[in-house]
Amino acid sequence: MKHLSHICKLAAIALSATLVVACSSSSTQEDQEAAAAAAAAAAAAKAAQDMAAESAAAESASAADAQREQLMETAEAYGNVFYFAYDSSTLTPEAITALDAYIAALKTTNAFIRLEGHTDERGTRDYNLALGERRANTVRDYMALNGIPASRIESISYGEERPVAYGTGEVSWAQNRRVVLVVVN
């Protein structure tokens, strides 16, 4: 069971590791195996795990494995994407539950995180840039209020420029109104 979960993690790590591996001078055999596993797992994996995996892969080899594991488990359990209602930056109950778990995990580490705010395509692009930032800042403020120093959190807004679903309609829009939490290192 433990072994299986480890494989899952490796696969997840590798999902978006291709870029990181390509750029890293210290790519270990493990990284390469992970990259190979990624190709097989990519199709099945959820987009939510994708970004968490990238953050994990981006962590330096010197980071404490146990701490990373706890963050990874949090990401696996809750995902790292928090969704919002239209033109809203209010946290949903699901987002708060997930964030509480992240906050607990982050308190055991010195990890830095990046919050990427996104919107759906409705409304103007520049207003949406501002709205995406407002969403990211809502998450930041909640984390800061609960003990994660704001200095460890960077927010960036992509507005409507980086949709995960390209279609027109609420099914696509709901997936795009989100904040993605990425562990930087």
Partner: protein, 436 residues
């Protein structure tokens, strides 16, 4: 290694226009105005040897057709094809109910030059209205044709033509199999022809804006990993990063005198409008508000700035007066009015208006406060008005693809400029490229 990758990426960014694939735009006329003026644009006679460098008459004809104000006579219907006044038989054109007739000659000039001589006739009055010529490099044949179209348009409508202008837009090719999208900042002629890629990036590019002299442009790029405002010289490709603040760095808008750039920064906590003195780089915050303040647009006199703010709960347009430092609300109709752009007359404003769930382009008359909806699709945005105030170019969606479309301010005329592939968005119509 990582540094190397970054360097390679930077070099890629600098290889502008070289080998980069530009999105070709095509033109589809959706509808013209009622009762357009019938005009015959006879193929210009080529005075050189070999094939003519360009079908300039087709370019002129397409310009006049897109305006919605003219109905060109089909070439196949023409009973004669004069290229000089002595060859004009008015009865040939009266038979086709033609009101005006444009004829001309295209001649090679020394040093790869080209000259277009043209004459416009009023068929009913049986008189020559005016004649003239345009000359320049043969490689600019299309631009010479647009200048002829400008002159014809001005003589027949009393309004300066805006065909000899350019467009900026962002085109996006979606990444395949999880690869990142490719963003291209592209410049084309006003009819979408001759696209040139000015910048290509794997990170988002947005909000292209023209300097008033049309020599430089500004835009927002995510290439540094966060938002930054850049300016770029079109001819040399030389770029300069103007901002690198934490948070938003967006919505660059050049002042009419070119000395100041309005922009949106959230470095102090929330999005506010700032003015950057481009000579000294000093910043002045002109909005101090806990709401979102964004999308600045200068009034043509440079005395005030329109912007979008949700300080009243929903996005609406406000106006900041530089002298008195006061802010007044401009829009009251509807729940959502955003991203204003002002015509050169300082009276007509185009903006994005939401009604019944649809986002449309609307025209607001600042004198009468009348708001008129110009478009009828669902997700219309990024309006940009021609320098002569006649047409509004905007972005919309068709079959889940971003396309450009245009509508005449007077209503009626519409055309679309879909790309052959990928999405196109955020059109910015250039100022006039010459003084007259």
């Amino acid at each position: 290694m990582r540094r190397f990758a970054t360097t390679v990426f930077s070099i890629c960014l600098l290889l502008v226009a070289i080998g980069a694939r530009a999105s070709d735009l095509t033109i589809e006329i959706t509808r013209g105005m009622d009762d357009p003026t019938a005009i015959a644009v006879v193929p210009f006679a080529w005075q050189g040897t070999g094939a003519a460098p360009e079908d300039v008459s087709a370019v002129i004809e397409s310009d006049l057709l897109r305006s919605g104000q003219f109905a060109p006579v089909a070439r196949g219907d023409m009973l004669s094809m004069p290229s000089a006044q002595t060859e004009v038989f008015y009865r040939d054109w009266r038979a086709l109910n033609t009101e005006y007739l444009l004829i001309g000659k295209m001649s090679p000039q020394p040093l790869n030059g080209l000259r277009l001589d043209y004459e416009l006739f009023d068929v009913l009055r049986q008189a020559r209205v005016f004649s003239g010529f345009e000359s320049g490099p043969a490689t600019d044949a299309r631009m010479l044709a647009h200048r002829v179209a400008d002159k014809v348009y001005e003589h027949l409508t009393g309004i300066r033509g805006a065909f000899a202008t350019r467009l900026l837009y962002v085109s996006v090719t979606r990444g395949q199999d999880g690869a990142k999208d490719t963003y291209r900042l592209t410049m084309s002629d006003s009819d979408g022809a001759r696209p040139i890629v000015l910048l290509e990036s794997r990170e988002p590019l947005l909000t292209p804006a023209w300097a008033p002299d049309a020599v430089q442009i500004a835009y927002v790029s995510f290439e540094t990993g966060r938002q930054a405002i850049f300016r770029q010289d079109i001819a040399t490709g030389k770029r300069e990063q103007l901002t690198n603040f934490k948070g938003l760095n967006s919505s660059p808008a050049w002042s009419p005198d070119g000395k100041t750039m309005a922009m949106v920064l959230s470095k102090d906590g929330n999005p506010d409008i700032y003015l950057m003195d481009l000579a000294t780089r000093s910043l002045t915050n002109i909005t101090r508000n806990y709401a979102i303040d964004t999308e600045p647009a200068w009034m043509p006199d440079g005395q005030s700035i329109l912007f979008t703010s949700d300080r009243g709960g929903r996005p609406q347009i406000y106006r900041y007066d530089l002298a008195s430092q006061t802010t007044t609300r401009v829009t009251f109709e509807g729940r959502y009015n955003a991203r204003a752009r002002v015509a050169q007359d300082g009276r007509n404003v185009v903006l994005v208006h939401q009604q019944d769930g649809a986002f449309n382009i609307a025209l607001l008359d600042l004198v009468t406060d009348r708001l008129q909806i110009l478009t009828s699709t669902q997700l219309d945005e990024s309006p940009s008005i021609a320098p002569n105030g006649s047409m509004v170019l905007y972005a919309t969606k068709s079959d889940d693809r971003g396309i450009l479309a245009a509508v005449s301010v007077a209503g009626g005329a519409k055309f679309r400029l879909p790309a052959r592939d990928g999405d196109v968005r955020e059109p910015a119509w250039s100022p006039y490229l010459s003084a007259n």
